[in-house]
Every structure is written in C-alpha cells, then in structure tokens.
C-alpha cells in the first residue's frame, strides 16, 4: 500500500548517545533544587509526579487520552532529523506515560505488561534524560493532534519531575542561576551593561550625529524595555534599533540592570523557576515605576 505521506525510516536508538551535560552543584544551590541527584531519586520523582498530576490538568488528561493514532509522529523536527523513533512526540510522551500507568492507574498496577506500564528504573531515567532534552517544546505536535495533546506540557512535566530529584542539565541550570546573580542569561554584570550602553551612545553619536540615549535604571520612565541580553552584547543592531525608535517617537524609556533578559530558561526547568525569572520583570517595573513593559525577545 502506498501512502501519500513519505514514511521516514526508523532507526532505533539513533540519537540516544546525544546526551546533555549534567548540572553542577554550584548552580543547583542557587535555584532551590537538590545539589546532586538524590539517593531516593525514585521516590522523590514519584512524589513530584503525584503532586503535578493534581496541579496540571493538561498532564493528567494528555497522559490519559492519547490514542496513539500517529498523527504527530512525522511532525516533530527532532524525529525527522534523527529518525530515532523515541523522538516521535507520541513515543516521547510514552516514556512518561508508561511510568504514569505503572504507578497511578488501575490497569497498570494490576496488569502492567498488557498496559505497557513500566517501573521507574535506571534505564527509563536515562531515556528520560536523553529524550526529554531532545524536545524544544515548540508545540507543533499539538497543532495536528485531534485532541490538542501538547507534548511540550509532558516534556516540561518530566523535566520538573527530574529536577525535583536533582537531575537537570548544565546549560539550563547555569543560565537560570546567572539570572538570579546578574539579571540576565549571559551573565552581564550591571557595570558592564551600563558601559555597553554608553559605548552604543558614543557609536550612534559618531554615525548619526545625534544624542540618542540608552537609559539604564531611569526611575519614572514610561516604558521598561526587556530585551534579550544578547542585544546589548552580540546583536547590538537590535538594541540600536530600539533606541532609535524610542528617540524618534519621543518616548521615555529605560532598561533595568535587575531584569535585562526577555528569555526565560525557567520554562525548560520547572514552574517555580519560571515564575521567579518572570517575577523579576514585575519587580523591576514596580521599582522603576514605569507604566508599560515592552518585551523585546
């Protein structure tokens, strides 16, 4: 039988070796997580999972109602790119679903094998660590799912469950810890931020011949601009663009050294850190007494 959709060939385990660097103790102590993987990681993860099932309808519902129709399977760029079947959204969710079935559903508790339920063991944990960090949470699968099952919700839950047991990746935890120390993902300290802004002012004076300001921590400005921190550091053309636009429009604006990051890596780690990182924007807006926040990311 010939199908109109080309069927990507499956290569089992094709990207299982692509593994993120594990988190470091120095970052974990700054983001309210266990310093190292807990000895009772299994119990800690199951406890967190039970808590999350009661707090997130999306998680419980999406674990329950997937019919494995396969509509999402060829929509994930990670599957199309790696050909690893565990990167199909449905199979990725199954990594969590089989543990959910084993510990939280009647069918899985009574007759685990028939229900594809599986104990939470070292091998499953390794699969979780590898494949739940090979999802970019883009939510493309949810567009095509007949029930709107959002694998990003399941990825986020799995990462939060792992984080509760002290299991995370270095990239994400390091960035979140940096936000709490410096206000941004890149780790630009306040003096450097101010210096960069002065440098851009001088540059613009030379190029445009006008005094275009890059205000920092200006209390009482109308608008707080929250750019991606890279705009002040690498993609400075974007930062120049903001300044020119505000200058031309005659709007008073400012950036904040407390919160100069529009990206939120808490989303890739857990709810508590996502909330804390976002809260910095509110806090900066309150302290600077601005009227509006512009999100530049």
């Amino acid at each position: 039988m010939k199908f109109p959709v080309p069927v990507p060939e499956i290569k089992t385990g094709a990207s299982r070796h692509v593994r993120c660097h594990p988190c470091k103790e120095k970052d974990m102590v700054k983001i309210d997580l266990p310093k190292i993987r807990r000895d009772d990681w299994k119990e800690a993860m199951l406890k967190k999972m039970a808590e999350m099932l009661d707090k997130h309808r999306s998680l419980r519902l999406y674990l329950d109602i997937c019919v494995k129709c396969g509509a999402c399977a060829d929509k994930c760029q990670f599957f199309l790119g790696t050909k690893d079947p565990k990167n199909m959204p449905v199979a990725r969710a199954d990594l969590l679903r089989k543990v959910y079935k084993r510990y939280f559903t009647l069918g899985g508790k009574i007759w685990g094998r028939a229900n594809e339920a599986e104990d939470l063991n070292d091998e499953v944990l390794e699969d979780w660590f590898v494949y739940f960090y090979q999802c970019s949470e883009c939510r493309r699968c949810s567009v095509f799912c007949p029930y709107g099952i959002d694998t990003a919700e399941i990825t986020m839950a799995a990462r939060e469950i792992m984080a509760a047991a002290g299991i995370a990746t270095k990239y994400v935890t390091e960035v979140v810890a940096k936000v709490y120390d410096t206000g941004n993902n890149l780790g630009i300290w306040a003096p450097a931020w101010i210096d960069n802004c002065k440098f851009l002012e001088e540059d613009l004076k030379e190029i445009e011949g006008q005094d275009i300001k890059f205000p920092v921590d200006a209390v009482g400005a109308e608008i707080l601009l929250v750019p991606p921190s890279a705009d002040n550091f690498a993609n400075t053309n974007t930062m120049i663009g903001y300044a020119k636009m505000f200058h031309a429009a005659g709007i008073s604006w400012t950036t904040s050294t407390y919160c100069n990051e529009g990206g939120n890596f808490g989303m890739f780690l857990n709810y508590a850190n996502m909330k804390k990182v976002n809260n910095r924007i509110l806090e900066a807006a309150r302290q600077l007494k601005v009227k509006k926040v512009y999100w530049g990311e």
């Binding site: 959709v5 060939e9 309808r57 509509a71 949810s142 921590d217 709810y271």
Partner: protein
C-alpha cells in the same frame, strides 16, 4: 445459569462499571486546575468561538485533517457510522419508538453494514506503516479487534443469522425497567451482546476515554484573551534564595543611589 449470567448480571455489572468508571475519570479531569493559558494559536477570542472549535474538533476532526488524510478518512467514517449505529440501536431500548429513531433506520442499517471497513483501514494502517507499528501497543489492537468483533457479528446477525428481534427487545426493555427476563436467542447474538459488555467494562480504563477528554483539553477549550490576566488557582508568592547575588532589595538600594560606592 449461563444465560442468566450473560443477560442479567453482566449487563448490570458493565453498566455500573461504565458509569462510575467514566464518571470518575471525567470528574478527575474537571477538578484538576489549569495553571496557565496554553491555548494553541490561532485561537478564538469568544466563548462561542471556543464552542465552535471544540465541537468541530469532536465532530469533523480538522486538526487530524491537517495532519494525516488517510487517518482522517478512517476516523471520520468510523465515528460517523458508529453514531448512526448507536442511534439506530435506540429502537431496542425505547418503547414506543420515537419518530426520529424510525427515520434513522435505513441510513443506520447501511452504516452498520459499512462500519467494519473503516475499522479495517485503521487496523491495517497501524500494521503497514513502520512508525505506527512502533507506537502501537496491545490496547490499541484490543480496542480495534473488539470493535471489529462487535460490528462483524452485528452484520452477520443482520444478514444470515436473523434473531427474533421481538424477544431481543423484550429482554432489553426488561433490563431497562429493572425487571430482567432471561431469554435464549441465537448464540451469535450472545457473542455480540457479550462483546458489547466487554467494551463497556473496558471503556473507562482505556484510551477510549478520549471521547470525553477532548472537551477538557486546555489547548483547545481556552480563549486567546491576552488582555485579561489569567490567574493560576494555586498561585503562591515568590521566595528568594539566600545564595542569589542580586535579590530585589539590593536593586532598590542601588536605585536609591548607593551605586557610586560599588567597585567597578
């Protein structure tokens, strides 16, 4: 004794399991809070728009149509035929038979004859596509084979092994009015009836609950009201970790003018 077990005890057991089981699952979804607005865009801004979107998803599967045409065809035919068949079967449960059930008789019969075809299509596409074979588990095949068993036995009852439907209706009405009467219809009817009871018992524990769950899906039943703040029902205040070098009180000190004293 066997007949009494099949036609009296089993129907009541399966009805209780189905109603309590499915009700519990739906109650559980309903009471679990939704902490964030996660609606898939483009999303409707009004309640009417949400109703249209959810009903559309439940009735003609637009998301699936975007994703997989063969699957959409199999799915929509199966579900449409299933509804017609179920509604036609109401004539065995109601007395007198309402006019609209009478009106569905012919189309319901044709749906009944054809329903094994989309089921077979759904089964075959699981087996011939490598990735679908990979994700399919025992439960997926069990549900399809069970439904094939029910529908094929139903078609055979219509075509070759015609049961005396007056007896069947008498038995069903007896069950409905809690006045069960044991009857001895054809063994094939017994099989048809038994498989339906198995389906009812299996239903609440399985993926078949998608029929209720689709109405609870937060990516589909939320509005895109970004002007209004979405409040998390279990929201909590933020606490600060003593290991963090840049807490809010330090920022207020800096804003108050102590920046000059800082080492650059």
């Amino acid at each position: 004794m066997g007949a009494k077990l099949l036609y009296v005890y089993l129907p009541y057991i399966s009805a209780v399991v189905f109603i309590i089981g499915a009700g519990y699952r739906i109650w559980l979804w309903g009471k679990t809070p939704v902490p964030l607005r996660i609606v898939t865009t483009p999303a409707p801004k009004t309640r009417g728009g949400v109703l249209w979107r959810v009903m559309g998803d439940a009735l003609w599967f637009p998301s699936l149509f975007k994703g997989d045409k063969i699957l959409w065809l199999g799915g929509i035919l199966f579900h449409a035929f299933l509804w017609l068949v179920i509604l036609r079967h109401l004539r065995y449960f109601l007395y007198p038979i309402p006019g609209w059930v009478e009106g569905l008789q012919t189309i319901g019969l044709y749906a009944g004859y054809l329903i094994p075809l989309p089921l077979a299509l759904l089964l075959v596409r699981r087996l011939v596509t490598e990735r679908n074979l990979y994700i399919s588990i025992l439960g997926d095949y069990f549900a399809l084979v069970l439904l094939l068993g029910i529908t094929i036995s139903g078609v055979l009852l219509l075509l070759f092994f015609r049961t005396y439907v007056v007896d069947v209706k008498d038995m069903v009405l007896g069950l409905v009015h809690f006045d069960p009467r044991v009857s001895e219809p054809h063994w094939l009817f017994g099989l048809h009836f038994f498989l339906v009871m198995v389906l009812l018992i299996y239903f609440p524990f399985s993926k078949l609950m998608h029929s209720g769950g689709i109405f609870f899906s937060p990516t589909r039943n939320q509005r895109a009201l970004f002007e209004k703040r979405f409040v998390n029902p279990w929201d909590y205040p933020v606490s600060y970790n003593p290991n963090n070098l840049f807490p809010p009180d330090k920022y207020s000190q800096e804003l108050a003018g102590s920046r000059e004293g800082k080492k650059e």
